[in-house]
């Protein structure tokens, strides 16, 4: 008998070998669910090796997706449905499954060799069946049977296993295959045989649900009531790319994007290099130093110079960032943080570059630092970063991370005609000689680009005399210039929005203060706690340097401050030095985001 139950959210976790196409079906389920009106939140979790040996634990690639009938901010702490394509995928992911949850297995891969690779001494299916609803399905066999007339080789046919799994999950979620099929058609439009194979596999999975005697009820998640508007789904890196193009458009200039490939920042380069028709110039440089240097050169010449990187690439860019501070040219450096130090955990998320962004340059070299909170926030924050860079003539660091970079989320598409243009500094000509370091009321110097007679000037990394920009070793002048540059950045606090409380009251017992990708987990934890009668407010920082002018006052209105971070306490370090009192900390450096439960437990442990 087939029944359908209604749920307000459901979490699906796809897991398999890195070659099994789990990321693809995760994204497809995301697009499909978003299009059908659910809110979604995803968590792609890849192995570091591109092709780890098949069947091994460290070759497992996972994609977690949560769909809901309401506004959500996390991919969920635990999964309702786990799809495991082999024993290793089962082994590494079963602990993320809710008690009583559903496991779909490709039982054809549960042979002696794979079980041994996963470290199972005996077949786990029987034991697991005691706690979970386990459905061992001969996916490989079904796929091979139906693909045998396709003219394709076994290897290629086997690749469509993932579509079978997706089809079955769509059935379980009471959805149709129609929209998914549209995406598949677009993806394989130039490979007709593969297209047919994948569509057939998708249908086979769906029909399997219809016809097999699965003792399971389908789950229906209704549409979410998101704020009205036109939506699309977007990843963090796509959001940044679109925000950067839009910023250059708002400033009426070319976007000059230079970078050197590095996970998880490369997708920004991939995305931007598609849009050359929009006055976007992309340059894959020989290294990160060349990338930032070229961007600085382009900014000198009047383009909006931007570069993005991660971890090790940030180290390489330090010297040039100092140059940009000295030159006072617009520049945006996106740091898509990943696990460090050194090569660290290249595909995993972490928030451990905050202090580096703040202080990672020799000399007194302050610059604005901003952080994105989630994929849907990237577009707007990128524009903010570019606005500060141009209007204050300064390099800006924009922090994102591996989690935000790859996660998929519905995004309400903004009306770009309603966004304020970005104004370049032009100073009134009131002096006989052009003075490159004359400033406006914001402290910004003029962006005087080559090609204008009478404004020829030389700038460089040596300390410069105020106004003229000529080399100066004068001690008084140096102190004056250091302070001038510092004040310019500090004064930005007067031009950014006041800090608001994201949820909860404006003062009280406890505020949880977060930045970056912890936004969703903190927000959800706070909401649940308040529903349970625990008074707690959520404050989320976009501007990390300078802080909004009212931040300290706001924080002082709370008895206790808790700062959860995916590092060992970097924002806490900064805030403690300002607040002159200790804060509570929750720190995690495991390469994965906080669960909601971890945050709630910490709050409760402090309060009790």
């Amino acid at each position: 008998m087939k029944t359908t139950t209604l749920k307000d959210d459901i979490v699906v976790l796809f897991a398999g070998d890195s070659g099994d196409g789990m990321q693809l079906i995760g994204e497809l389920l995301g697009y499909t669910s978003a299009l059908s009106g659910n809110d979604i939140s995803t968590f792609p979790n890849y192995p570091a090796e591109i092709r780890a040996p098949q069947g091994t634990l460290h070759g497992v690639s996972g994609f977690q997706i949560r769909l809901a009938d309401h506004y959500i901010f996390t991919p969920g702490d635990e999964a309702d449905i786990l799809v495991a394509m082999n024993p290793a995928a089962l082994k590494t992911n079963v602990r993320k499954l809710k008690p009583g949850g559903v496991i779909i297995l490709n039982i054809n891969s549960f042979d002696k060799k794979n079980l041994a690779l996963a470290g199972y001494e005996i077949d786990p299916v029987e034991e697991l069946s005691k706690q979970f609803k386990v459905f061992p399905i001969e996916i490989t066999k079904i796929i091979r049977d139906q693909g045998k007339d396709s003219g394709l080789g076994t290897k290629q046919i086997d690749r469509s296993k993932n579509m079978f799994a997706l089809g079955l999950v769509l059935w379980l979620l009471n959805k149709t295959t129609e929209q998914t099929a549209t995406f598949i058609k677009r993806k394989f439009s130039d490979k007709p045989e593969l297209l047919q194979l994948n569509l057939k596999a998708l249908e086979a999975g769906y029909n399997y649900g219809e016809t097999a005697e699965l003792i399971i009820s389908r789950t229906n998640v209704e549409k979410a009531s998101l704020p009205s508007g036109t939506y699309r789904s977007i990843t963090g890196n796509q959001g940044l790319a679109l925000g950067l193009i839009t910023s250059a458009h708002l400033a009426g200039t070319q976007l000059f994007y230079a970078s050197y490939p590095i996970t998880p920042a490369s997708d920004i380069l991939h995305e931007l290099s598609k849009h050359k028709q929009l006055n976007v110039l992309t340059f894959q440089a020989e290294d990160e130093i060349a990338a930032i240097s070229a961007a600085i050169g382009a900014s000198f010449a009047g383009s909006l110079g931007v570069t993005a990187t991660s971890g090790p690439g940030m180290d390489l860019k330090s010297e040039a960032l100092g140059l940009a501070v000295m030159l006072e040219l617009p520049l945006v450096v996106c740091d898509i943080q990943r696990g460090g130090p050194s090569t660290g955990l290249p595909t995993k998320t972490e928030q451990s570059d905050l202090l580096f962004a703040m202080f990672g340059r020799h000399g007194e070299a302050p610059l604005p630092v901003l952080a994105v909170s989630r994929p849907a926030d990237c577009f707007e924050t990128a524009i903010e970063a570019c606005r500060l860079a141009i209007e204050f003539m300064t390099p800006v660091i924009l922090l994102s991370d591996a989690y935000i970079a790859n996660a998929l989320e519905p995004w309400k598409i903004p009306d770009i005609d309603k966004i304020h243009s970005i104004e370049k500094t032009v100073l009134q000509e009131n002096e006989r000689h052009f003075a490159p370091y004359r400033r406006n009321e914001k402290g910004a110097r003029e962006w005087a680009v080559p090609g204008v007679p009478g404004k020829e000037h030389r700038i460089g990394g040596l300390e410069k005399e105020d106004l003229t920009g000529n080399i100066s070793y004068d001690p008084e002048n140096h102190q004056h210039m250091v302070l001038t540059r510092k004040k310019k950045i500090e004064n930005i606090a007067q031009y950014i929005p006041l800090q608001k409380v994201d949820s909860g009251s404006e003062s009280g017992k406890m505020a949880i203060v977060g930045w970056g990708s912890t936004y969703g987990s903190i927000k959800t934890a706070c909401e649940q706690l308040r529903n349970e009668g625990v008074e707690v407010s959520h404050i989320h920082l976009r501007y990390l340097n300078p802080f909004p002018s009212n931040l300290l006052q706001l924080l002082n209105g709370f008895e206790k401050i808790l700062i959860p971070e995916l590092n060992t306490g970097q924002l806490a370090f900064l805030l403690e030095s300002h607040l002159k009192k200790p804060v509570e900390k929750l720190n995690k450096v495991k390469g994965v985001p906080f669960t909601v439960k971890e945050i709630k437990d910490k709050v409760l442990s402090i309060i009790r």
């Binding site: 036109t230 070229a294 770009i416």
Partner: protein, 346 residues
């Protein structure tokens, strides 16, 4: 706009118009003065309006150069001038962009950027002031210092094998490779002008005397009595001849260069290697003329345009591609923001 569009001649402009109001601060007697003077002279002759010129340098004594020119200029960080200049040229291909660098700047810390600008063939003259020493840091050996060189950091002699910059540039497939010297102003001007006219990266090695830390490093090539015997001034379509009375020639024996006497060997001018800077194979052999001049049978050091060829320059390719894309991909900003699938929430 391309660089040609702005090369409207300004006939009245003088060398002094290219001097900035800053005092020149090199050590008295430094070879950099001559290079600055010749550059100001040829800039006036070329006649590009000052506002359309950008000089970009790294760090080193030589890299102070942009401060002394009344054009746009950037004095950047050690070794990175090629990358910064590439950014400028890509953003504004119509500007006349020049790179000033030293042997440490270009070949040590900046070696990576140098080979990449050359392979990309960005339309920029690159003036490498080679003084075979680190001047600004007061006298350590550099990547072009001779083996055995005694310097502050090599009191017992350097063990490093030096770069032959010209050969390195050939290896990176530069499309213009030349060598000249501070002490021969006419030759220096001629090469600088040719480098400017070349469409693509023009690699110009300039032997520059650092009279404080490495005085006389090139004197065998620059002083009147030794210069004729140890240098080979290349002239297009002319035989390779050198010597006080032009009594020596170079012929090719297979692919091996051979010095022959034009007086008593039986070989005449007709037998000699005729310089053809567009012949890549011959240029590669010429680039290897790097013998220690004091060695028996040492080949003379070539000066002039060793190699030049035509290859599309990078910024042209970049903008051609953008134009091509515009023909195929007409998606507006709004369209790409909307993406491929949207839905409405009411």
């Amino acid at each position: 706009m391309t660089q040609e569009d702005i090369t409207t001649k300004n006939a009245t402009i003088q060398p002094k118009d290219f001097a900035s109001d800053q005092d020149v601060r090199w050590c008295p007697g430094c070879g950099d003065y001559s290079i600055l003077k010749q550059t100001q002279t040829i800039l006036a002759e070329i006649g590009i309006p000052r506002e359309n010129i950008v000089f970009v340098s790294g760090i080193g004594c030589s890299s102070r150069f942009p401060y002394y020119l009344n054009t746009y200029g950037m004095h950047t960080i050690h070794g990175r001038a090629p990358a910064i200049a590439t950014g400028i040229k890509l953003a504004r291909p119509e500007l006349s962009v020049w790179i000033i660098t030293g042997d440490g700047d270009a070949l040590s810390i900046g070696g990576n950027h140098l080979i990449h600008i050359l392979r990309r063939n960005v339309n920029i003259p690159i003036l490498l002031f080679n003084n075979e020493i680190y001047g600004l840091t007061k006298g350590q050996y550099s990547p072009t210092s001779k083996e055995g060189m005694v310097s502050k950091s090599t009191p017992y002699g350097s063990l490093d094998h030096p770069f032959n910059p010209v050969l390195l540039a050939m290896g990176a497939e530069a499309t213009f490779v030349a060598r000249t010297m501070d002490r021969d102003p006419a030759h220096l001007r001629e090469i600088l002008k040719a480098g400017h006219l070349h469409k693509g990266s023009a690699f110009i090695e300039i032997y520059q005397n650092c009279n404080v830390f490495n005085d006389g490093a090139f004197e065998i090539f620059t002083e009147k009595d030794t210069k004729p015997l140890y240098t080979l001034f290349l002239e297009e379509k002319q035989p390779l001849v050198f010597g006080k009375n032009r009594e020596w020639g170079i012929r090719l024996d297979g692919y091996k260069p051979q010095i022959v006497s034009l007086q008593d060997s039986g070989f005449g001018l007709d037998d000699l290697w005729i310089h053809d800077s567009r012949d890549r194979y011959k240029a590669q052999i010429l680039a290897t003329f790097f013998d220690d001049p004091r060695k028996e049978n040492a080949l003379p050091r070539p000066f002039g345009i060793i190699y030049q060829s035509q290859r599309p320059c990078y910024e042209d390719l970049v903008y051609q591609q953008i134009e091509n894309v515009k023909g195929k991909n007409t998606k507006s900003l709004k369209e790409i923001i909307f993406g491929t699938a949207t839905w409405e929430v009411h």
